[in-house]
């Protein structure tokens, strides 16, 4: 701790940080633009000028940039000094010289850092009479709008997009006052994190295009804290609603998980909520009728009660809330409750849960991954399955730079200096995968192997680290050299981190990863000074995959048992909750099950192939329309809150399932379901801590979902009825559907939209952090449900055999693989149809041409897909992107035969147009 004096008041600060960061940490108002807590300082904007004095006697002082000056012990500075104040107001005046006077038609208006800082610096009237510099905009694709005239050249966009997120297609172009931030030519911004530009840009150059299409000012949005349901990372989000539809999703700061950034699936996938595919009304089909008939909400409740009277099967879902799964199990009984994911995933998740309870290992949160100095990614295409983890892995590469900077005694916030020093020095990132990935540019090595060989390699690595681990049979010299080099890098690291996933649906792979972690644990116990646990995490495909696995531990059976019962017809009805079973098992298995003739009740948000077969289709709420609990890949339970009430036809699944009386308004609240469940199951007892206690003052004083500036209250529904209806009541949470109540700053887990006087933009989050980029002041960060046991388990035996026969692996895409977000129009514009992906040798052997069609036949299935030939793909491997259309489970079994389909120019042209959107840099040229 160091002591600094700011305007005569002493503060205890961290001397490793700069003055700007420490002033903000102390809650002082000091304007800034180019500095960002995650990106350090470059001193580009000159806005954070303060006066620094040499000592007590120095009355004159010098103006310094706070962001470029260390907060060293004994510093004496002044923010309010007249000269410093004048300096800042002149700087902002010159930054505003070419600003286009268009705040009323700017999407950033009202939450604009530039507006806030201009106010704070005291610049009011334009004195500059000469001409403004103007720029032409670019069309940057379906996500991001561009209005270059508003730019103040702070360089934050390129520093985030290129330096932080690893993008390559945004640059500072031009020179002097003509500098331009954009692409070399018009086109889609490729990076998976481009949406963050809207939040990183302090003004309105980069804005959310989907939000602009149904724009509402920040103060008019009704917001509630939510959790992204796009994958298993559990990023915190703040969705906003106006006039009954969802308008946007922005990042909500969580210190351990998403920090300041979320991926584009999470940010732009929200529009599926109001898509054409949405199930809006209950639909019923009598007997063998072809057409659905809509039911009123009351009829739907009656019909549901009538159909679920007898012996009912319930199939849960990893994309539904924990409450809904609990309510379903309570309704149908434990013996009738089945898992909502494939059997292979079921087995994988059992292994993952074991690893989460293994002592001496830990599951790193996103921030801990960032601190890791050697990362091994196995099989998972992490950018496309859990993108936020990929961003963290990218940052982990910078730890080598951190070490260099520490040696050279350069403070870490000196961003440009640290990057200059490090050049291309990176911490090791080893990728073992069947195909090249988006992280290859920062990887120290990418080993392209098919799944069986990966498992074999991992076994060899485990053996190389700890000889007690079983040596795999039949390894050759290449393998040994490779495995010992990987082992050496992992052993040298202080914080090695293993990242894999379950998208390959291979329990053996999970076991092999755990074995490597166990070997590292053993190695570090005997040979290393580092005694801290080993980081091991598995990316989860869906928001509640792990939640469902945990729930199944307290009772429930795998999906195959349900399909068998359905096929034999030994049930009166089956409830399938928020689950497209056609994505969980092969079409033949599903058709057999459906042939059993058990009446099918499906609850879902969106129409899909599967729920068209239902007899009763009930609309259920999305994550934005209900309270819920989600368990992420670490086993961290987090609460999401209802943002707005959907129409009365749409109910949360748990509301429908827990209401036994059809006449009842709605079922039991999610909070009650959760409390009862937590009390009954010790493993879930931490869930009672999750939501703020509602006793005493907080029971009656609610926290508003609407801002204190919320407008239009007496006019927004006046076209229907001029008499204002009562404000909706929320009895199930501590939030209110109004602007009444107190902004609960005492509980930041309830704070969706941070605001502080003079800080209207998202930068106001600094007012709620303990220190900049630190923990939020109060509130639940979520509860970790998996407790480490005390006894270590031995290595898992795996029959690892090398395999050279043709195998198939499944490709995931960030835009399209997730069932829900794939229906958002902006995501659809970026997603592809199904395709196959093969290597050059295989293509030559089978006579397949680039972008031609390939016919893939296995024992159980056959499909024709457009093909892309890549350099970066494991030999004898064919990757298939099913796009939720192709039956992937049919293709994974048995021998595969490939055959080229004779070229037709029309489909070559169409598949070529499709592949133009695919971000693969190593595809062969058309003629090759």
């Amino acid at each position: 701790m160091a002591k600094i004096s700011v305007d005569g008041i002493e503060y205890d600060v961290n001397p490793e940080n700069n003055l700007l960061q420490e002033c903000l940490s102390q809650g002082l108002d000091l304007p800034y633009f180019c500095w960002h807590p995650c990106m350090g300082s470059v001193g580009a904007c000159r806005q954070c000028a303060v006066k620094q004095y040499r000592n007590e006697e120095d009355k004159k002082g010098t103006i310094v940039m706070a962001c470029m000056t260390p907060a060293s012990d004994g510093s004496i500075i002044s923010i309010n000094d007249q000269q410093a104040t004048d300096f800042r107001s002149h700087v902002i005046e010159s930054l505003m010289i070419s600003h286009p006077h268009d705040c009323p038609v700017c999407e950033e208006g009202g939450e604009c850092h530039l507006q806030d800082m201009t106010q704070m610096s005291g610049h009011n009237y334009r004195r500059y009479d000469f001409k403004k510099v103007t720029h032409r905009n670019q069309n940057l694709g379906p996500f991001i709008g561009h209005e270059m005239n508003r730019c103040i050249a702070c360089y934050r966009c390129v520093r985030f997009y290129n330096d932080y997120a690893g993008g390559e297609d945004l640059a500072a172009l031009g020179s002097h006052h003509h500098v331009y931030f954009g692409r070399h030519e018009e086109g889609v911004l490729e990076n998976e994190f481009s949406g963050n530009l809207a939040e990183v840009c302090p003004t309105g150059v980069f804005t959310d295009k989907t939000f602009s299409a149904h724009y509402t000012r920040k103060w008019d949005l009704q917001t509630a804290p939510s959790i992204c349901a796009g994958c298993g990372v559990g990023c915190n989000t703040a969705p906003g609603e106006r006039y009954g539809t969802l308008r946007r999703v922005v990042n909500r700061y969580h210190h351990d998980i998403n920090g300041y950034f979320i991926c584009d699936r999470g940010r732009f996938g929200y529009d599926a909520n109001s898509s054409k595919q949405r199930v809006g009304k209950a639909l019923y089909r009598h007997g063998q009728e072809a057409e659905f008939k809509p039911l009123s909400s009351l009829e739907a409740k009656r019909q549901f009660a009538a159909m679920t009277g007898g012996d009912v099967i319930g199939i849960g879902s990893p994309r539904a809330t924990l409450e809904s799964n609990i309510a379903l199990r309570d309704r149908v009984g434990v013996e009738n409750f089945y898992a909502g994911f494939s059997d292979a995933q079921f087995d994988c998740l059992q292994e993952v849960l074991k690893s989460l309870r293994e002592p001496g290992l830990y599951c790193p949160d996103v921030r801990q991954i960032e601190r890791s100095d050697c990362v091994l990614v196995v099989n998972e295409d992490i950018t496309n399955t859990s993108a936020r983890l990929a961003l963290a892995i990218r940052q982990a590469g910078r730890n080598a730079a951190t070490d260099l900077a520490n040696e050279a005694r350069i403070p870490l916030w000196q961003d440009a200096a640290v990057r200059e020093l490090a050049q291309n020095t990176r911490s090791p990132l080893i990728i073992v995968s069947p195909q090249g990935s988006r992280l290859d540019d920062v990887a120290s090595a990418t080993h392209l192997l098919q799944l069986d060989n990966q498992i074999h390699l991992l076994q060899a690595v485990a053996h190389a680290i700890d000889p007690d681990a079983l040596k795999p049979t039949a390894s050759n010299e290449v393998d040994e050299a490779l495995s010992s080099s990987i082992a050496a890098q992992l052993c040298q690291a202080k914080n090695p981190c293993l990242v894999s996933g379950i998208s390959a649906e291979s329990p053996a792979l999970v076991k092999a990863c755990v074995n490597v972690a166990k070997a590292l644990r053993a190695y570090r116990k005997h040979n290393s000074a580092e005694q801290n646990p080993v980081a091991l995490c598995f990316a989860m495909p869906e928001a509640n995959s792990l939640g469902m696995a945990l729930l199944l531990e307290t009772g429930g059976k795998p999906l195959r048992a349900a399909l068998q019962r359905l096929a034999s017809g030994s049930a009166d009805a089956a409830i399938v909750m928020e689950n497209d079973l056609s994505l969980r098992t092969s079409q033949t298995a599903l058709a057999e099950a459906m042939a059993g003739g058990v009446p099918l009740i499906v609850m879902d948000q969106l129409h899909n192939r599967f729920n068209e077969q239902a007899q009763l289709l009930l609309p259920s709420s999305s994550v934005f329309e209900q309270h819920g609990t989600w368990i992420n890949y670490e086993g961290r339970a987090q609460s999401s809150y209802q943002v707005f009430r959907p129409s009365e036809d749409i109910l949360a699944s748990y509301e429908r399932l827990s209401a036994l009386d059809p006449m009842q308004e709605c079922g039991v609240s999610s909070e009650l379901i959760m409390q009862e469940f937590a009390r009954a199951n010790d493993a879930f007892s931490a869930l009672t801590q999750l939501r703020p206690p509602r006793v005493g003052i907080s029971a009656s004083l609610k926290s508003p979902r609407q801002s204190h500036r919320f407008s239009g209250r007496t006019a927004m529904h006046a076209q229907d009825h001029v008499h204002e209806s009562q404000q909706e009541q929320d009895r199930a949470s501590a939030l209110a559907f109004s602007m009444e109540g107190v902004m609960l700053q005492k509980d930041s887990s309830l704070m969706a939209s941070p605001w502080s006087p003079a800080w209207n933009s998202n930068q106001s989050i600094s007012k709620f952090q303990q220190e900049i980029n630190g923990e939020l002041q109060q509130g639940s960060k979520g509860e970790l449900l998996c407790v480490r046991q005390s006894t270590e388990t031995a290595y898992d035996a795996i029959s690892a055999k090398r395999d050279e026969k043709l195998t198939c692996f499944i490709i995931s895409q960030l835009f399209g693989s997730d069932e829900i977000s794939a229906n958002a129009p902006a995501i659809q514009a970026r997603s592809l149809g199904p395709y196959a992906c093969i290597g050059q040798e295989l293509a030559l052997a089978c006579g397949i041409r680039q972008h031609g069609l390939v016919d893939i036949t296995t024992q159980t299935g056959r499909v024709q897909l457009p093909v892309i030939i890549r350099r970066q793909i494991a030999p004898n491997c064919i990757g298939i992107y099913p796009a939720n259309e192709v039956d992937k489970y049919a293709l994974l079994l048995g021998e595969i035969t490939l055959q080229a389909v004779p070229d037709e120019d029309s489909h070559i042209a169409s598949s070529r147009a499709m592949f133009d959107h695919l971000l693969i840099k190593d595809a062969l040229a058309r003629e090759a």
Partner: protein, 179 residues
């Protein structure tokens, strides 16, 4: 004593005389509605939405009137045409709530929303006091004749390209390195 009489009786007589003289004074009340009163231009009455000198809607749906409104009686939704011009998809004022305070007019950055001297807004049915954009929009500039927001703001719209707003240079050629 004399002073007391002068202060009380005298003053009462003067008052009586003045009241009596009012019987012959010119009347202030008029025979409304046969005679229409003369309203000052700055009178805060019925709210209108005006058009700019080019005849286009002035309102850009910035929402500042709505947020300034103390009784929250303005609701609107932004829409955008193909060329980038913002306009309100709907614009609704609930006059049964409006208190004619004029804050909306003060807040408006484009002089679109204006209060007019018309006060004849009584209705038999309260629902009829909800006015939509079609009811509010007039075919003129209202009180402020010259202001045209889009001619000043640097956003491109139909008929006004980048660099054609007031005080703007032609768009930069990024590929040029000349000063």
């Amino acid at each position: 004593m004399f002073r007391l009489i002068k202060d009380t009786l005298g003053s009462q007589c003067v008052t009586l005389w003045r009241v009596f003289m009012h019987a012959f004074a010119k009347t202030d009340t008029v025979e409304y509605p046969d005679v229409q009163p003369q309203m000052a231009a700055r009178w805060r009455g019925r709210i209108i939405l005006s058009r700019d000198p080019d005849g286009e809607e002035r309102c850009v749906a910035c929402n500042l009137c709505a947020v300034a409104c103390p009784v929250d009686c303005i609701a609107l939704q932004k829409a955008e045409d193909e060329e980038g011009r913002w306009y309100p998809e709907f614009f609704r004022i609930n006059f049964s709530r409006c208190i004619m305070c004029g804050f909306c007019e003060e807040a408006c950055p484009t002089n679109a929303i204006q209060l007019t001297p018309d006060f004849e807004m009584a209705e038999y049915v309260r629902q009829d006091m909800v006015w939509e954009k079609e009811d509010l929009l007039i075919n003129g500039t209202g009180k402020y004749h010259d202001y045209n927001f889009y001619r000043i703001a640097g956003k491109k719209i139909a008929g006004k390209d980048k660099g054609e707003a007031r005080n703007e240079e032609a768009p930069v050629n990024v590929r040029s390195l000349l000063p």
